[in-house]
Symmetry: D2
Subunit: 338 residues, 4 copies
Amino acid sequence: MSAKLNVGVIGLGRLGKVYLRDLATRIPETTVVAVADIDRTLAAGLADEFNVPKSYASGDDLIDDRRVEAVVIVSPTHAHRANVVAAVEAGKPTFCEKPPALTLAECAAMSSAVEKTGTFFQMGFMRRFDPGYAAAKEKIAQGVIGRPVVFKSSSRDPFRPSLEYANPASSGGIMVDMGIHDFDLARWFMGDVDTISASGAVLAYPEMASIGDIDNAIATLEFADGRLGVIDLTRNGVYGYDITTELLGDAGTLRIGYLRETPILTMTTNNVSHDTVPYFMERFERAYTIQLQNFAQNVLNQRAPAVTLDDGVEALRTALAATAAHHTRQRVKVSSIQ
Amino acid sequence: MSAKLNVGVIGLGRLGKVYLRDLATRIPETTVVAVADIDRTLAAGLADEFNVPKSYASGDDLIDDRRVEAVVIVSPTHAHRANVVAAVEAGKPTFCEKPPALTLAECAAMSSAVEKTGTFFQMGFMRRFDPGYAAAKEKIAQGVIGRPVVFKSSSRDPFRPSLEYANPASSGGIMVDMGIHDFDLARWFMGDVDTISASGAVLAYPEMASIGDIDNAIATLEFADGRLGVIDLTRNGVYGYDITTELLGDAGTLRIGYLRETPILTMTTNNVSHDTVPYFMERFERAYTIQLQNFAQNVLNQRAPAVTLDDGVEALRTALAATAAHHTRQRVKVSSIQ
Amino acid sequence: MSAKLNVGVIGLGRLGKVYLRDLATRIPETTVVAVADIDRTLAAGLADEFNVPKSYASGDDLIDDRRVEAVVIVSPTHAHRANVVAAVEAGKPTFCEKPPALTLAECAAMSSAVEKTGTFFQMGFMRRFDPGYAAAKEKIAQGVIGRPVVFKSSSRDPFRPSLEYANPASSGGIMVDMGIHDFDLARWFMGDVDTISASGAVLAYPEMASIGDIDNAIATLEFADGRLGVIDLTRNGVYGYDITTELLGDAGTLRIGYLRETPILTMTTNNVSHDTVPYFMERFERAYTIQLQNFAQNVLNQRAPAVTLDDGVEALRTALAATAAHHTRQRVKVSSIQ
Amino acid sequence: MSAKLNVGVIGLGRLGKVYLRDLATRIPETTVVAVADIDRTLAAGLADEFNVPKSYASGDDLIDDRRVEAVVIVSPTHAHRANVVAAVEAGKPTFCEKPPALTLAECAAMSSAVEKTGTFFQMGFMRRFDPGYAAAKEKIAQGVIGRPVVFKSSSRDPFRPSLEYANPASSGGIMVDMGIHDFDLARWFMGDVDTISASGAVLAYPEMASIGDIDNAIATLEFADGRLGVIDLTRNGVYGYDITTELLGDAGTLRIGYLRETPILTMTTNNVSHDTVPYFMERFERAYTIQLQNFAQNVLNQRAPAVTLDDGVEALRTALAATAAHHTRQRVKVSSIQ
């Protein structure tokens, strides 16, 4: 393996372009040697823009490229299984964006390939690399809040996605699409979830009903060791993109998140105001970069992945349990979701 | 009735003393003409301190006092029923601190007396009079956040109460003792609750198990019209007394609460810090005063009570439903609690 | 002297009423036994409202009242000298609102009377009793910021006062009227000021020129030991009443002040906003009460005054030096102002 | 000129490396075709790291390189004059980091070359490109605060620079080194400064006296049209890097700046705390990038420079006037500094 990691990027949508830019220009440890997208023109154009020598219309071709030493998969979720299995079977260290897949069956195929081949695989959950969340993890390890006993997390989108995007058939529904980040954080900070109960409804965008999804949800978690958690998700955080997590310990509390984007206060008659974080890229841009750099460093230094496929699978299982809890109006045991 | 309202105060514990001080010195509309407490010495001492002409060892005697035009009841919860029934049957406008009682049977007796006599009765829920909560109510009426669709509330005590105080036999347990304020706010902002699910546990103070109560709880509410709510309660908000409520609307969000008590920031190497709100009296002192003044004004001006006994009864019913949901691990219909 | 201090209040204007209320109802150590105001009807009405047995049309009569053990002077500034001299010559512990007077000649007469009689005298500078400022003083004593080396203070009124009030003939001009609080803080935290330079202008309210005053000013202080300070004053803090002070030390910084009055955030499309502190009474109500209580406790316990007449005189001298610096456009030695 | 701007970078110190990285990897409009530094090894190493085809030991050689279309000068201040004159005489659009020079004589030579040749020249003042400052400029143009009447700015370094760096012979002293940014902002927001008075002292680092500089300074500005300003500078902002500016208008106020770096609050017993901004690169990283991108876009689109050499010269003149005001203890007319 070379001193710098030669990476191929599969999938050049909104997030794929950001990953390409980061790998090509912001992460000293990586060189992008190939990109792939089913839109061949898009791939060629971006290859040109970022001085990437090769572009492909298929992930398989990219994986076959001998110069590609590691694969970053940002393709649509339904393609994850095929891309991941091909990449790890080719023995190429692989990074795959969340969620791992929409079904546990697909996950099983991916896990089996990763396990069988022993190829390095790192799951994408960028929040773990956000300086705020990373600081929280460290402070908890240092005992700053004692033992964390309650996990609270809130994810708010400033508007609903397009109905096409939001369709549960491709997005997995709100619990998977939005919630998987919070469920992953829950597991990261607190460990496995035992049972979930949930309530949800269409409250702000009646048209969400037409695709069979909801726009607001609340999920209550009981962790395996009896500790508690609660997650609320909304598509109508109309004031801005607001991601907040709290960890209540028996000796203190941590609160992660912030509300203001631009460092200016406007003060007029009896009013002080500021703007908000527009959307996820403004909030997590740095986390995305750190995450990919961490992937590259782990591969180059033969370290274990920071986030495993199993982390992805269990976060998905938890999100599916939350979905089931909402649908059945019953408390659901996460392990019952197979 | 005189221009100023001649009030008698029954119960001179921690909160009773504050009420006495407010009524005697801060509320221009009231004069305290009698106080009562089973601790006759305490009653006499406080009467002396606040220039109150009469002190009694029993609420009934105070109610019988002809100079007493209105009665403020801050006695222990188990005494509310007897005090309230006596006061309203005597035809004296009555204010009673929350909760109305610990059981719905007691409530029924009180309601029946209030209804039968038609005497003015106002329930104590001071948060409704806090400038933050009052501003929220007004802003919602003005349409600032559109239609509120999700209610979130969090109550955190900086430490656990004494086991004697916390004992569910007298406190009603965490859902009633702490939660009734949040359940009342939920009803005030959103209307009646249809069903509740809840999770709770002893997580910070193992000794709470010995009295049969928990120290952390999460309750999810489905309102009668399908909107959602979530309340979390903790006894281990060790950093300070932190009461936060959010109302998510389809056009905006309101957040009520604050973290800093003293207006000073201390900035040392890589650190900016401030103190916190110590406890409920610092947080709600002004709300308590405004609430009693509102009671007096309503009586003097023959206006309807701002908070009714029914509000108290329904908040209690909701809290009891939450308790049942926790105990049965089932979603509970609030109306099933009788 | 009785267990409670029998106080007489001279001057029942805006602030005088607040002092009367505090002394009559909020401060357990005091009883108000007499009030005086040249508006006899006002005095009689307020005496009635607060159960004060006597009301007078003149301060001298009040001072002569044998029941009056201590005198609180909130009369117009031009009357301070006469009231203070009479009160201390009568041997009655005296509190006088700032500024001590408008001229150093008047101050000299007052100082001479206080010195000659040895009567207890406490100067009013309520900011010293504000929990934020008091905490700052304590933290500095504890060494939290090391040695304070720069003092910064900013006073902003939300609107200009009436031209009648603001007239320098009676108000002393902006440096005295607004600035004396900041000059006192400067001295309290840092010690005597050696020289002052200043700039000022009419920038927001052209009509201020008609009374010979300015609406914005900046004063730079060099303390006797070489440390630095800067004060800015504005009448056009139109967003609200904003009083902020910073102490920069060689090991940290303290910042005193706050912006929000009501504990609520309103979050609408790309906007988070809150209200502001309306005016000085909302900001310093508690400080005023604590200050008077401190006066009463000092008298009752025969402790030294917390703020001396000399503090008042030196703050005035500093404010007059700032005024002179502005007028002469020269750096002025404070000690040269006699 | 090519579609992308081929840039050469002169000076590869701390800031030069950041500029190189930005121009090479973050600004789509630029390609770095040459770098120069008197440390030839450093230049060669960085050229290699950023795929820059040529490296030079002298700025002149870089300017002579025919592939170099535009020159970015980040060399030590004493080299600015020579580099700028050579670059503009070669007809190559030039960007030069602040300050333009340490003396007005050097500035005159540069201005004369820029004027004579008519070559595009843009001065570096990155704060103007910070989203907070840029938003302030825009809001003022929109009339949000009415007419700005007082300018306040505060620059705090978390520690003193090395004595070698801070030496006024090379840094220009605190008014030039730190203050030039604030003086530029003052001019940008308010226009030319007429007179300055200043106070300064060695208060935190006695060793600063050995190099003839001070560590704290306060400068009061009177603008040509009578409006006011005040700037305070400190080397002992030990809590963090804190840059705050306020614009007080006659209809509102803007406050630019922030205190927290990592989005996390730590809440322990009676304490809420967060970290601070470490240093200028964390605070202004984005502003630096935007500034260079703006330079490239202006050149490519033949737009006027966003910041002129004259802006640099006048900010320097103002800083020199502040230095003189401190030294002479007199109010200094800025135009008298030649």
